[in-house]
């Protein structure tokens, strides 16, 4: 199962310049690149905590209240504020990439990238409004 053609494991004939492990620390743009990759940790963490929250809900009120009180501890709040910052970084870098990744043509002409970008930010706004409406809109 060699699934990625981009990484060849052994190249006996090639000289490879050894790279230090923290090669990406040298330039701001490299740090940003690795930072963007690491926002996936924030996404994975969010999914995991959501699973735990659903589990707590399924166990009944008592378990859920214990979970909710855990969420109110300063450590949890601090972690989640940091989490939100990472997620915002992910959202903004992801949406800003969309016009470069998506090329739409309408009647033979390319849609302006700014329009695609605006569409994605509109979608972000709509999705956030939906979440707010579902969770707090009714009270």
């Amino acid at each position: 199962m060699s699934s990625t053609p981009s990484y060849k494991l052994y190249h006996p004939k090639w000289y490879r310049h050894p790279m230090p492990i923290f090669w990406w620390f040298k330039r701001w743009s490299y740090i940003k690149f690795i930072g963007r990759e690491l926002t996936s940790l924030a996404v994975g963490y969010s999914a995991t905590v959501l699973v735990i929250q659903i589990w707590a809900l399924s166990r009944g009120q008592e378990t859920y209240e214990r979970f909710a009180s855990l969420l109110r501890t300063p450590a949890a709040v601090g972690i989640h504020i940091l989490l939100l910052l990472c997620l915002l970084f992910h959202t903004i870098t992801w949406l800003n990439l969309a016009p470069k990744a998506i090329v739409l043509r309408l009647a033979g002409r390319r849609l302006p990238p700014a329009l695609i970008l605006a569409g994605h930010y509109l979608a972000w706004f709509a999705a956030s409004a939906l979440v707010l409406w579902l969770l707090v809109g009714k009270s």
Binding site: P5, S40, Y64
Partner: protein, 118 residues
Amino acid sequence: MTERSNEPFFWALFSAGGMISALVLPALVLVLWIAGPLGWIDAPSFAELSGLVSQPVVRLGLLLLIALCLFHWAHRFRFALYDGLQLKHLFGLIAVICYGGAAILTLITVYLLWTFQG
């Protein structure tokens, strides 16, 4: 014979997960884990949340969100380990841990949502 690659499949999951997490997660995290616990808003109660989750549409949405987020993490973190920490020699092991972990958590989510009673 050309070798079939499973890369496009995982890349599609990564891409879908990146989009859905970008659109949904900031608001969700702000309301559920920051504004609610800090008392900025009336935190949605146990009854409200279990009422929400007992709706099939919400359950389907949650499953989609959670599964895609997990596979987004798996794919992106895998390559961050390869490139950032130069762990290419652990190629197989890292892939198994990342995708396997995402798959197991997805199965747990399916079970929890399938058996959920409000």
